[in-house]
Amino acid sequence: MSDVIYCEGLKKTYKNVEALKDLSLSIGENKMIGLIGRNGAGKTTFLKTCAGYIRPTSGEISVLGGKPFDNLDVLSNIIFIDEEIQYNTSMRLGEIFRLGAIYYKNWDDAFAKKLLRYFSLDVKQKYKKLSRGMKTQFNMIVGLSSRAPLTLMDEPTLGLDVAVRKEFYQIILKDYMENPRTFILSSHLMSELENMLEEMILIHEGKVVFQKSIEELQSYAVLLNGKQEVLKPFLENKKVLNTETFGNSIIAGIVNDLSEKDTLFLENNNVDISKVKIEDIYIWLTKNGKGGGFDEFEG
Amino acid sequence: MKRLIIAILVLVVVMTAAAAVLLPKSYTGSEFYTKTVSIDKTKDVVLNFEGYSVFVKESDTNSVKVKTKVMVNEDEAKTLDCTIAGNSISVNNSNSKSKNIVLYSTWPWLPLMQIKKYQPAFFTDIDANEYDFVVEVPKGTAVNVTGTKIKVDGCTVAYVKGTSAEIEDGILTRDFNEDVGALTVRDCNVPRNIVFKQKYGEIRDNKIID
């Protein structure tokens, strides 16, 4: 399977700020990828580089087999949806659909209009008159209807209430199953998305911290809850991601490399072992060494 | 997109056709219209330019030359003709007769100003028309002029009829009755017995002859 995106040592510097530092990754075909990271981690810069909006300062990037910057053959197969999209103020939704049909050879007009009706929008409405949430809905509709082989969405559900967000997740998933292609969704609401994603990429300070499948991530760490006198010596030989103490108790998130012997020991000493949410792993890994997690992470 | 292109093309074709019908084919506005009429020099010349201002002057030719400086369109220029009966010349231009208001469309597209050929009339040789017609008559032939505003220079004047008349350097041959509203006679040879009946006028620097 060929890579849809391949980056090696990618750097992007804005004046004195390094937005991307030596970013390397590869993304295969027809995958649903989640892109996570703190504010300013470099997610949007990475997506804009993939969408050909900006030029990398150094390093290599290949999207759909070519460099994306100013490459029409690559760009024709990409759609980038973000909250900053500003269609011309006088345009109506139906007109934007007409443009979509011109620009994207796989544009599904029937699907676009169906979604528009579903979300109670009208082709005659002007884009500038939509509320923020409605604009987000419309942008998502355009993103899905383009059927672009690479669909990049930066915070696609911003401004949507939880009910609409869930509806959209279902629609995206259904559409992805029926028309497989590569999706990269950047969002802060990973707990909502994790059930539909296949892989997650964590970017922190312009670098890829990890790129793992959801299954791997779900079993990547465990949460231990027990007495301090039992856990403290036990944790000395473990990769600790986070610890919290409550009186005599300690709750610790550690990398899941527990052996059978370890599990037996913990059970015998009344230590609770539970799963860790992916969101928590993301938080622990990106807190800049405050809990010691990221510093000790080895990928 | 296709519909838009077709609509524009149709508009262009219709416009071109309409322009071909509505606009003059060639630029004639500043041209002089000249007509030469042969006459019997021994008899009076009768110039009937009723409704127009006319300037009559003497020349060394044997015929009468009628020139007009009125800005006219191509189609109107063709109909600007005269009726000639012996020594009598009458203007028969029904189109412009007694038309005292003129609407002009003088400016073409602005960038065309740089090309001399297309410069509008007032950029070239048309100045404000003081007289609609300029008529040259052979030396010594007496003139009999009907018009609105009349000027006669250096001719033998037999009769004038109009709102105003100005005669200079000429020779008067007959009385002036009330057919002229305001009369000016200057530097002329005036027979002693000629009678002027005008209420308004100026008789100055003339030479009285017997």
């Binding site: 804009k48 050909g52 909006y53 900006i54 100013d70 029409l72 053959d73 760009l75 024709s76 197969n77 990409i78 759609i79 500003q86 269609y87 011309n88 006088s90 345009m91 007409r98 443009l99 979509g100 011109i102 620009y103 994207y104 050879k105 | 997109m1 838009l4 524009i8 508009l11 416009m15 071109t16 309409a18 322009a19 071909a20 509505l22 606009l23 003059p24 084919k25 506005g29 500043s30 800005m71 006219v72 369109n73 189109n95 038309k99 005292n100 208001i101 003129v102 609407l103 002009y104 469309s105 003088t106 400016w107 073409p108 597209w109 602005l110 960038p111 065309l112 740089q114 297309y118 509008p120």
Partner: protein
């Protein structure tokens, strides 16, 4: 990947989106021209009926050319400004498509206003001809011939194209290089006026266009210079990033 197909799609899309985006401006300018035409006809008719000899020195063709030039400058600034560029690059286009598409838009915008003016001018002629038929004392003299009407349209189109190309060039230069570009361009324009040879050069440059008496040559000169300017504008565009 079919490059030719992608190029055609991008170009068609860019021109279509620009046309859609300018729809309101087109409507506005149509009403402005219509208003001017109506006001102008009414004033002339009143003047004529009052017995004043009126001269249509500011007819629809003259006004239309002025409006077309202003419209060209405004639309070019709209297209080449940050917001306009951002709106253009929402969809998949490259910088070459942006430059070529903009050039096509210059032609379409200019042609639209000039066509409109040409239609209004015919309306003006019809109004005057009707007046001439109704009132015996009114004579209509038209010095705009069919030939000058048609050729003038083309020369005007190329002149406005040239104005649009200069505006686009300066706008791209300023938006790409910001303050240094303002200084350099101001000096480049202003300094030659100090020296006689500079003034002469300006005069020669001006006469290169307005001194030309051949219709074909003037159109060719304007077209080639506009295309050249657009190509020069494309060079700084090539590395332009789409940033807010």
């Amino acid at each position: 990947m079919n490059s030719k197909d992608n190029r055609q799609r991008a170009l068609k899309g860019y021109v279509s989106s620009s046309l859609m985006g300018l729809k309101q401006s087109y409507i506005l300018v149509t009403f402005v021209l219509l208003g001017l035409f109506a006001a102008y006809c009414i004033v002339n008719v009143i003047l004529a009926l009052c017995g004043a000899m009126s001269n249509s020195s500011g007819g629809a063709l003259l006004v239309g050319f002025g409006v077309a030039a202003i419209f060209a400058v405004v639309t070019v600034l709209m297209m080449s400004a940050g917001k306009g560029k951002r709106a253009a690059f929402i969809f998949p286009i490259d910088r070459k498509t942006f430059a070529i598409g903009s050039f096509i838009m210059f032609i379409l915008n200019s042609a639209f206003i000039l066509l409109l003016s040409a239609v209004f001018y015919l309306g003006e002629v019809i109004v005057y001809k009707i007046l001439g038929l109704i009132f015996d004392n009114i004579m209509y003299i038209n010095n705009v011939t069919f030939e000058s009407y048609i050729t003038g349209f083309w020369v005007s189109l190329f002149y406005i194209l040239f104005v649009a190309a200069i505006t686009f060039f300066l706008s791209i230069l300023f938006s790409r290089f910001k303050f240094p570009a303002v200084i350099i361009v101001s000096l480049a324009i202003g300094l030659p006026f100090i020296f006689p040879f500079g003034r002469e050069a300006y005069y020669k440059f001006l006469m290169f266009f307005i001194g030309e008496q051949s219709l074909v040559l003037i159109c060719l000169k304007l077209l080639i210079c506009s295309m050249l300017l657009q190509f020069i504008s494309y060079l700084p565009l090539k590395k332009m990033e789409v940033i807010e």
